[in-house]
């Protein structure tokens, strides 16, 4: 029996359309007795389906505790006037709402219930808006990052003495402003990225006895004083001389240190005051460190990000000696080669996630990966991986390199986007029965590889971008039973009809393709729902991927050949290329 069957059906029915909303709305003016979790579920569904309008908010004024409108540009004075009447509202998220300005905030002045307010990225908010916020005396969390508030406004925040979390990212906070905030002794979280504080101002952080999270990325701070309560520190893009130098026997037992893109005068000196016993997350990406010997002492590390750093095969030894507890290692966009994999192999028994994207590794690395027994996620995108090597002296004797991955029992996610893997070398992947996510992006791949994918029983997400796939190939594809997402973006030979008939045959699979959005638009036009905004939430945002019809690259004859080539022929051709052992695995009945 399913839990809450009728309740769920009621919420679904109540939020079915604007018409049904009108009908139940006429029955009552407020939902005073509606339990919070029901009101919340109904509100979220109405919001998701774009059925909310300002005066409908009145209905929820006694039963909602949280409202999340982030990114909704339509929120204006009228909406806010109703929100101001919410008796029990505890958290209000208006981040990135372009309609929010100083005068609109007047509606929520003096709300005693409100403890959590997020107006980050509301670019019309200035110091005058802060005056309204000061009347919300119980605020515990306030986010005003990337607004137009100045140091003057920030100084005024000192009257909100209950604040525990304050996000002032991207604001021109001066040392003087921090000095006036030192009365906020409850502060546990302080975000000051991109502010104007200096070393002098950073000395004032010692006045916050509970401060656990501090972000001073992109600031002029070089020397951070000893802050015993700190757990999480972000000094990315700073020029660091020393961290936690100073008085006091107790050094903070930091668990996360992010110094992405930071420069160091002397890295050993800078880290010498750190208590690294509990340091589990270290981000050194894009930093200019060329000596990694300090890593040897950091034996608790679980996540290490060295992407875009100066790491090379010669510098990797300290990583190998500290890597016993490592679960996540990012070496993408570095100069490391197979040699580094050889050094790391056998030293990382707990490593679950390894990113080697855009590194210099090649197919010979794969055999070393099999000596990392806990690996679940491997990112090999944009590397020289081909899926095969050649026996010495014989350019014709291919040795398939991907089959060794079947020794990794836990492997679930594999990214081969932008590699030079072809249909035939991809075929052995069919042996990786535990694979759940597979990402491919290459114009070397064609319909043949669909057959490989069909034999992966546990596959949930399949990325197959930019491949030369045809409608015929797609329609003869038997997707694995559990497949949920099929990403076909950039497969320019697929037509709208091909995609829509595949979607029709397998409605449980979410297909991403440039024509999917067009399909949805077509449907909404057919339904004549011009009054409602088109519901595009089902479609994936296509981001910056612009679809260009690459047919112009080909002559008419070549095109005809591509679209009409039956996939079975191509498969038969490639089967003859397979070694005997693999042919056997493929001897399953054809559809």
């Amino acid at each position: 029996m399913e839990e809450g069957g009728l309740v769920r059906r009621c919420i679904e029915a109540a939020a079915e359309s604007a018409k049904s909303v009108e009908k139940w709305r006429r029955q009552r003016r407020t939902l005073e007795r509606l339990p919070t979790q029901l009101a919340d579920a109904l509100f979220r569904l109405l919001h998701h389906r774009r059925l909310l309008y300002p005066s409908l908010l009145e209905i929820f004024q006694y039963c909602l505790e949280e409202v999340d409108f982030h990114g909704e540009n339509c929120i204006d004075a009228e909406w806010m006037a109703y929100l101001g009447g919410f008796r029990y509202l505890r958290a209000l998220n208006l981040a990135g709402c372009r309609g929010i300005n100083n005068s609109v905030l007047w509606s929520i002045t003096g709300m005693v219930s409100l403890k959590d307010l997020d107006i980050s990225r509301c670019s019309k908010i200035t110091d005058a808006g802060i005056e309204h916020i000061l009347s919300i005396s119980n605020l515990e969390r306030l986010c005003i990052s990337e607004t137009r508030v100045t140091s003057k406004g920030i100084i005024r925040l000192s009257s909100l003495v209950n604040l525990r979390s304050l996000d002032l990212g991207g604001l021109p906070v001066t040392d003087q402003a921090i000095d006036s905030l030192k009365v906020l002794v409850q502060l546990e979280y302080l975000d000051l990225w991109g502010s104007e504080i200096t070393n002098e101002g950073s000395l004032l952080f010692t006045r916050f006895p509970r401060l656990a999270h501090l972000n001073i990325a992109w600031t002029e701070v070089n020397c951070l004083p000893n802050l015993p309560s700190l757990i999480h520190l972000n000094m990315s893009n700073c020029s660091i001389h020393s961290i936690f130098q100073g008085h006091g026997p107790v050094k903070p037992s930091l668990s996360e240190l992010l110094v992405h893109g930071a420069t160091f005068a002397d890295v050993d000196q800078a880290f010498s005051y750190l208590n690294i016993d509990h340091l589990s997350v270290l981000d050194l990406s894009s930093s200019a460190i060329s000596d990694f010997n300090f890593l040897v002492r950091m034996r608790s590390l679980e996540r290490l990000d060295l992407s875009s750093s100066l790491m090379t095969d010669y510098l990797i030894t300290p990583v190998a000696s500290t890597a016993f507890k490592l679960r996540d290692l990012n070496l993408s966009n570095t100069k490391i080669t197979t040699q580094s994999m050889c050094i790391l192999a056998g030293k990382v028994p707990n490593l679950e996630k390894l990113s080697l994207s855009e590194s210099m590794i090649d197919d010979t690395s794969l055999q070393y990966l099999t000596l990392m027994p806990s690996l679940r996620t491997i990112d090999l995108s944009k590397t020289g991986i081909q899926g095969c090597t050649y026996a010495e002296g014989d350019r014709l004797a291919k040795i398939w390199s991907l089959p060794v991955l079947q020794n990794l029992d836990s492997l679930e996610i594999l990214n081969l986007e932008g590699t030079r893997v072809r249909d035939d070398s991809l075929h052995p992947l069919g042996l990786l029965k535990g694979l759940k996510h597979l990402y491919l992006k290459s114009d070397f791949l064609s319909d043949v590889s669909f057959h490989t994918m069909s034999s992966l029983p546990d596959l949930r997400v399949l990325g197959f971008q930019g491949a030369v796939l045809t409608n015929n190939g797609l329609l003869s594809f038997r997707p694995p039973e559990r497949l949920q997402v099929l990403d076909l973006r950039g497969c320019w030979l697929l037509s709208k009809d091909g995609i829509s008939s595949f979607c029709g045959a397998f409605p449980q699979i979410k297909v991403k393709h440039e024509s999917v959005q067009m399909l949805h638009l077509d449907q909404s036009q057919k339904l004549g729902s011009s009054k409602l905004k088109p519901d595009l939430t089902q479609c994936e945002p296509l981001g910056g991927h612009h679809f260009t019809d690459e047919r112009i690259k080909y002559s008419r004859e070549e095109l005809m050949e591509l679209t009409s080539s039956p996939p079975s022929d191509v498969l038969a051709g490639s089967l003859s290329l397979l070694p005997v052992a693999l042919k056997k695995a493929d001897d399953r009945p054809e559809a």
């Binding site: 069957g5 919420i11 079915e16 049904s20 139940w24």
Partner: protein, 97 residues
């Protein structure tokens, strides 16, 4: 009253006599009848809901039977009139249905 039926009484005093099996679709009613202890509900086989109006209770009884018959399959949809969705939601929430 027969052993395998129960009587559900609405706020206005209307009585609905339904199969015990159907009533058990509600987690709340199930708990009343299966929990140890000598509740008057268990003894008399009837429950009064002073908070649930007659039309809503009628709809709930319909749902009990619909659930027994169809919930596992997809061949039929349980229709809910928009006018009563909120009342029904609150009652269903109370009854853990």
């Amino acid at each position: 009253m027969e052993e395998d039926t129960v009587k559900l009484i609405s706020a206005e005093g209307f009585e609905f006599v339904i199969d015990k099996k159907a009533a058990m679709v509600s987690q709340t009613i199930r708990n009343m009848f299966t929990s140890p202890g000598n509740f008057s509900e268990t003894r008399l086989g009837e429950v009064t809901f002073p908070e649930i109006s007659t039309p809503i209770l009628e709809k709930i009884c319909q749902y009990f039977y619909w659930h027994l018959q169809f919930a596992s399959g997809k061949e039929s949809e349980f229709h809910i009139e928009p006018e009563i969705t909120l009342e029904l939601m609150m009652a269903a929430n109370y009854l853990h249905t």
